[in-house]
C-alpha cells in the first residue's frame, strides 16, 4: 500500500508527529513562529479525544502541561524564544519532579522580542542552561519537515522513557518551510509509554530508584496517591534537606541522561570519512552546509558535514574524534557563537575551530560557509 504523504509545513509536521506519538494534551499560548503547531492541534486533538487548551500566558501553558502529564497524558507545548524564557522556571520543575513532557521551540532572533518572523538559533544554550540549578537536558534539532515529524515522536519517547522534559528546537526556516512528509503507519515507528509502577499503591514511592535509575511514574487518578513537589525530596516524594539524600537525588537525575548518551544521541555525517575540514552544523544551517560541502569537494577541498540531531546531550565523542581527524571544524550558527563554545571545549585544541555567526534575520548561505573554509585552511 502506498504511504500517506502530504506537503506539510514544518509546524504542521510537528503536530502530526505529536498525534502519532500519542499526545493527548496541548497547553499553549500564541507566539510567532510556532503558532501553527497550536492551530493544527486545536483541530486534531479533540478528534482523538485529546484536549487542547489555550492558556492565559506562557507560564500557565507550561504549568498545564505538567499537571496533565501527572494524570498520565502525553503532553506538549509549543513556543518560541520569549516563551521559553518565561517557561524556564517550570521546565526546571518538570526536571526535578521528573515529569515527562515535550516543549517545541521554534527559534527566532533575540534577545527580547527581537525579530519574531526571522529565523534564529540563539536558544541552543538556553535549552541546556535556561532554568536555574543543575539539571539534565535533552534537546533535538531537526532540519527538515520529515525530520520534525520523526523527532517530535522521538521527543515524546525520550520524555516518557527518561521521565523528563525534552525540547525540540528548530528555527523559523524549517518551521515555516513546506516539504513532502511521509506519514508512518501505525506500529511502524516506535512509540514508548512511561513505565507504570509494579508495586501496590501502598508501597509506591515516586522517586524510589532501588530497581533502576528511572523510577516508574504513577498517574493521578489511577489508584496511587502520592506527593509531587519542586522542593528537593526523598524517594517518597516529600521534601528533605538531608544533605546525602539531596545530593544523591540531584546526581541521579543528571546521571540518568549521562549514562544513557548512546541511547539518546543521534547524528548524521556526510563525506566525513576523509574530510580535512568539518562543517559542524544543525537545523536549517546544516542544509546550507551540505551544499557548501558539495561545492568545496568540486574544488578539490576535502570537506565533510557533521550534523547533530540530538544537540543535548552534546555529541562529545563524535566531535572529539573529528577534531583529531580534521585540520579545522567550522561551526556556522544563526547566533553569535553558542555551540561553537562546546565544540572548542571538546576539540581541546586538536584542530582549528572557527565560527560563522549571523543574527540579521537572514540564513547562512553555502557561499558564506565555503568562503570561511577557504579562509581557515
Amino acid at each position: 500500500m502506498a504511504k500517506k504523504v502530504a506537503l506539510l509545513q514544518g509546524n504542521d509536521a510537528c503536530a502530526q508527529g505529536a498525534v502519532y506519538a500519542g499526545c493527548t494534551f496541548f497547553g499553549g499560548y500564541p507566539i510567532t513562529p510556532s503558532t501553527e503547531v497550536a492551530e493544527v492541534l486545536s483541530g486534531e486533538l479533540p478528534k482523538v479525544g485529546g484536549k487542547f487548551i489555550q492558556m492565559e500566558d506562557e507560564i500557565a501553558a507550561m504549568a498545564s502541561v505538567i499537571g496533565a502529564s501527572l494524570t498520565g497524558a502525553k503532553a506538549l507545548t509549543a513556543t518560541s524564544g520569549p516563551g521559553v524564557s518565561l517557561k524556564q522556571e517550570l521546565i526546571g520543575y518538570a526536571c526535578i519532579a521528573e515529569t515527562p513532557c515535550v516543549i517545541i521551540n521554534v527559534m527566532r532572533g533575540g534577545p527580547s522580542t527581537g525579530m519574531p518572523t526571522g529565523p534564529g538559533q540563539s536558544d541552543v544554550m538556553q535549552a541546556k542552561w535556561g532554568t536555574h540549578g543543575d539539571h539534565a537536558a535533552i534537546a533535538l534539532v531537526p532540519a527538515s519537515c520529515q525530520e520534525i515529524y520523526e523527532e517530535t515522536i522521538r521527543a515524546f519517547n525520550l520524555a516518557e522513557k527518561y521521565r523528563m522534559p525534552v525540547q525540540v528546537l528548530y528555527d523559523e526556516i524549517v518551521g515555516h518551510m513546506r516539504e513532502r512528509v511521509e506519514f508512518a503507519e501505525p506500529g511502524e515507528l516506535e512509540v514508548i509509554d512511561r513505565e507504570a509502577p509494579s508495586v501496590s499503591p501502598e508501597e509506591y514511592k515516586p522517586y524510589d530508584d532501588t530497581k533502576g535509575q528511572i523510577p516508574p511514574l504513577a498517574s493521578y487518578g489511577s489508584g496511587y496517591k502520592f506527593h509531587v513537589t519542586g522542593l528537593n525530596k526523598a524517594a517518597d516524594g516529600f521534601p528533605t534537606t538531608k544533605a546525602e539524600l539531596v545530593d544523591a537525588e540531584e546526581r541521579r537525575q543528571i546521571d540518568k541522561v549521562d549514562d544513557n548518551v548512546a541511547d539518546i544521541e543521534k547524528f548524521e555525517t556526510y563525506m566525513t570519512e576523509d574530510a580535512e575540514v568539518i562543517i559542524w552544523a544543525y537545523g536549517s544551517t546544516s542544509r546550507s552546509a551540505r551544499y557548501a560541502v558539495n561545492d568545496l569537494r568540486k574544488e578539490g577541498i576535502k570537506a565533510g558535514l557533521f550534523r547533530p540531531i540530538t544537540l543535548w546531550p552534546f555529541p562529545e565523542k563524535q566531535t572529539a574524534e573529528l577534531a583529531k581527524q580534521a585540520k579545522a571544524i567550522i561551526v556556522p550558527e544563526l547566533n553569535l557563537g553558542q555551540m561553537v563554545i562546546e565544540v572548542e571545549r571538546v576539540a581541546k585544541g586538536d584542530c582549528k575551530v572557527a565560527a560563522i555567526g549571523r543574527v540579521d534575520g537572514e540564513p547562512i548561505n553555502p557561499g558564506q560557509i565555503a568562503g570561511k573554509v577557504k579562509e581557515v585552511l
Binding site: E56, A68, L70, A75, L90, G230
Partner: protein
C-alpha cells in the same frame, strides 16, 4: 457527624510547619471535614498548591497532592482537571501566591469557570518570606517592606473572583471554623469554579508588626469584621464600614469549562 481526621492525614507528616496561633491548621481541618462530607475518594482527588505557608497544606493530606511553583497552582490544576475531568480538584494557597504572582492564573480559572474548588487563605501578608506586604495587606499597615505603613490599596479577593467569572464565591474567617467546612463543601458540590476566601491570621509576621498583642486579639478582630450576607442586607451602609461580608456571596449556574470542552470533542468527532 464524627470526623476522623487521622485517616485524612498522611502518617508521619505531622507536626506541620505552621506557627502556633496560625489559622491554616483550622482551615486544613475544615477542608478535611468538607472532603468527608462530600465523600471525596482521595485516590481521585487532586489537591494542588503554589508556594508559601498555606501552600504546604496538601503535603499533609493523603490524596494526589501537587505542590507547584509560586503562583502557578491554578494553572497546574487546570491541566490536571482538563486531562482528567473525573477527578475532584482542590486548590489551596495564600493571598500573595494567589492574587499577586498567581493573579493572572486565578482570574482566568475564574473566567473559564472550570470545575475546581479554590480555598484561598488570606492572612494579609507574605508569611513564609518573613512578612512582606501582599496585595491584601490593609493600606497603612506595617509589613517588613512597608516600614512607614503600606501605601498600596488592596484587592477584595471575593469581588475579584466574582468579577472574573467564578460561579461560586464564598467568604468566611478562620474564627468561623464550622462555617469553613460548610462553605468548602458547598464549593465542592458546585459545578464550576468555586472560590472560598478565608480571612486568616498570621501572628508571627503580621500580628506582631501591627500591635496585636495576642492570637486571641487577632481572632477577635476576624470575628468582629465578619457580617453574614443576610444580616448585612438589613444594616445601613455606615454600619458596614470596615466590615467584610461572609457566607455565600455569589452563586450562579453557568457552563462549566470541561463540560464545554466535551462538546468540542463531540463536534470534532462528528457526533
Amino acid at each position: 457527624m464524627a470526623y476522623d481526621y487521622d485517616s485524612s492525614i498522611r502518617p508521619g507528616k505531622l507536626p506541620h510547619i505552621w506557627c502556633p496561633g496560625c489559622g491554616h491548621g483550622i482551615v486544613m481541618k475544615g477542608l478535611i471535614r468538607a472532603m468527608d462530607t462530600c465523600e471525596l475518594d482521595r485516590k481521585n482527588t487532586a489537591i494542588v498548591s503554589g508556594i508559601g505557608c498555606a501552600s504546604r497544606l496538601p503535603g499533609y493530606l493523603d490524596a494526589c497532592t501537587l505542590h507547584t511553583a509560586h503562583g502557578r497552582a491554578a494553572a497546574f490544576a487546570t491541566g490536571v482537571k482538563m486531562a482528567k475531568p473525573e477527578m475532584d480538584v482542590i486548590v489551596c494557597g495564600g493571598d500573595g501566591d494567589g492574587t499577586a504572582i498567581g493573579g493572572n492564573h486565578f482570574i482566568h480559572a475564574c473566567r473559564r469557570n472550570i470545575n475546581m474548588t479554590y480555598v484561598l487563605m488570606n492572612n494579609f501578608i507574605y508569611g513564609m518570606t518573613g512578612g512582606q506586604f501582599s496585595p491584601c495587606t490593609p493600606t497603612g499597615d506595617k509589613a517588613s517592606t512597608t516600614p512607614y505603613g503600606n501605601p498600596d490599596p488592596i484587592f477584595d479577593i471575593s469581588k475579584l473572583a466574582i468579577g472574573a467569572g467564578a460561579s461560586f464565591v464564598a467568604r468566611t474567617t478562620a474564627f468561623h471554623a464550622t462555617q469553613i467546612d460548610k462553605l468548602i463543601a458547598e464549593g465542592i458540590k458546585h459545578k464550576g469554579m468555586a472560590v472560598i476566601e478565608i480571612l486568616d491570621d498570621c501572628p508571627t509576621t503580621y500580628g506582631r508588626r501591627n500591635k496585636f498583642r495576642s492570637v486571641v486579639e487577632m481572632m477577635e478582630r476576624l470575628k468582629d469584621m465578619a457580617v453574614p450576607v443576610a444580616a448585612a442586607a438589613k444594616l445601613p451602609a455606615e454600619k458596614l464600614e470596615g466590615k467584610i461580608l461572609t457566607g455565600i456571596l455569589h452563586q450562579e449556574d453557568k457552563p462549566e469549562y470541561t463540560a464545554q470542552y466535551a462538546e468540542v470533542i463531540k463536534k470534532a468527532q462528528g457526533a
